[in-house]
């Protein structure tokens, strides 16, 4: 199973600043291993970020997003102590959900 994400959510003014790191190979399907065999593509395709049941960001990614992806964005309407939840799904159907509590500004 995939490793947990590292999510930081902080109030800056009236906005929630979200920074997340996800543990994922993001294999392009174009690299070869030491024996010369092609390493099959394996990458996150969808990312959804929710807050209070509402989607605050959704993304589609290709294999050219860097390994161990980083994401940074801001949204309005959150308060310290509330949760931000991130879910990713990759091209093999693997899935991972983690959440973080919004910290005060």
């Amino acid at each position: 199973m995939a490793d947990p994400m590292r999510i930081r959510a902080n109030m800056t003014g009236d906005k929630v600043e979200v920074k997340a790191l996800m543990a994922h190979e993001m294999e392009t399907g174009q690299r070869k291993d030491a024996k010369g065999n092609v390493i099959p593509a394996h990458f996150i395709q969808n990312v959804t970020v929710t807050h209070n049941g509402k989607t605050v960001l959704s993304a589609q990614w290709g294999p050219s997003i860097s390994k161990n992806p980083f994401l940074h964005f801001r949204f309005k309407g959150g308060k310290a102590g509330e949760k931000v939840t991130i879910t990713w799904t990759d091209n093999k159907g693997e899935k991972r959900t983690d959440e973080a509590t919004i910290a005060g500004g």
Partner: protein, 267 residues
């Protein structure tokens, strides 16, 4: 080959001076490095390392939580800031990774060759060593580096490291000294620290392990040295070799007093 004028074979009007372009290159590379600082994937390795540290594993089904990293069994906080050091139970100077091998053997019951298998991650295979070392290093973040060079074996390791630093060999006549004896030098665009200058040594020795964007994983000082010897056209340096540890003690002598900032983020 990324220079289009060469591919095209066309004649190019040269810049009137190369200096302004170079200033801008330095500035933009600096900006690139800064932009990456806002999220260091090494965080993911620290978390995984902590999990592995606490996991019951091996024939003895034990965790590493009672491992003695130099400050007593189970003390992780601050241990990294004093490694490598002499350990009486093994009668050797050990760094973080060789000590982890010892603990995996004594506490968890692994055979030494099992504990030392695949210490460096390759595409598709993680390394427990890289994760564990990230976790242990992070537990000394902000602390002062104080590697002891008091015990006769620690002093000996320093002296051996010093000899090996200057040792030149191989088809390119390279030694550590070839790249790390002058201040302000670069290889391509990468700054080369003068390792006998405390200010420069402090910035380097205290920032490994580090997440290397070029390799997509955390690499440790063991790997850094293995990589240096690779670039020096030497053969494969053994994992946890005495050469690696002696060179670490040599570097630590000049780096002592710096603040531990590992795991850092590097090219």
């Amino acid at each position: 080959m990324r220079i289009p004028w060469l591919v095209a074979g066309a004649v190019i009007t040269a810049l009137s001076s190369a200096a302004p372009a170079q200033d801008n290159t330095q500035k933009e590379i600096e900006r690139y490095r800064q932009l990456l600082q806002e999220g260091n994937p090494a965080d993911l390795y620290e978390a995984r390392g902590e999990e592995i540290w606490k996991q019951k594993r091996g024939p003895k089904n034990a965790s590493l939580e009672q491992c003695d990293l130099g400050l007593g069994p189970g003390v992780v906080k601050g241990a990294f800031a004093q490694l490598p050091r002499y350990f009486a139970d093994t009668d050797r100077v050990q760094d973080t990774e060789s000590r982890l091998v010892t603990c995996m053997v004594t506490l968890q019951g692994f055979k030494p060759e099992e504990a030392m298998k695949d210490p460096f991650a390759v595409p598709g295979r993680h390394s427990d060593m890289e994760a564990l070392t990230s976790y242990i290093a992070a537990e000394s973040k902000g602390m002062k580096l104080e590697v002891p060079i008091r015990h006769p074996k620690e002093v000996e390791a320093f002296q051996i490291g010093e000899q090996l630093f200057y040792r030149r060999a191989g088809p390119n006549d390279f030694g550590c000294v070839s790249c790390h004896s002058e201040s302000g030098k670069r290889i391509r665009l990468q700054d080369l620290p003068r390792l006998t200058e405390p200010k420069e040594a402090q910035k380097i020795f205290t920032t490994w392990p580090a997440y290397r964007v070029s390799q997509g994983t955390v690499r440790t000082m063991q790997h850094r040295l293995y990589d240096c010897y690779w670039q020096m056209r030497h053969p494969q340096l053994d994992f946890t070799s005495e050469t690696a540890i002696a060179l670490m003690v040599f570097m630590a002598k000049y780096a002592n007093g710096g603040s531990v900032e590992a795991p850092a983020l590097k090219r």
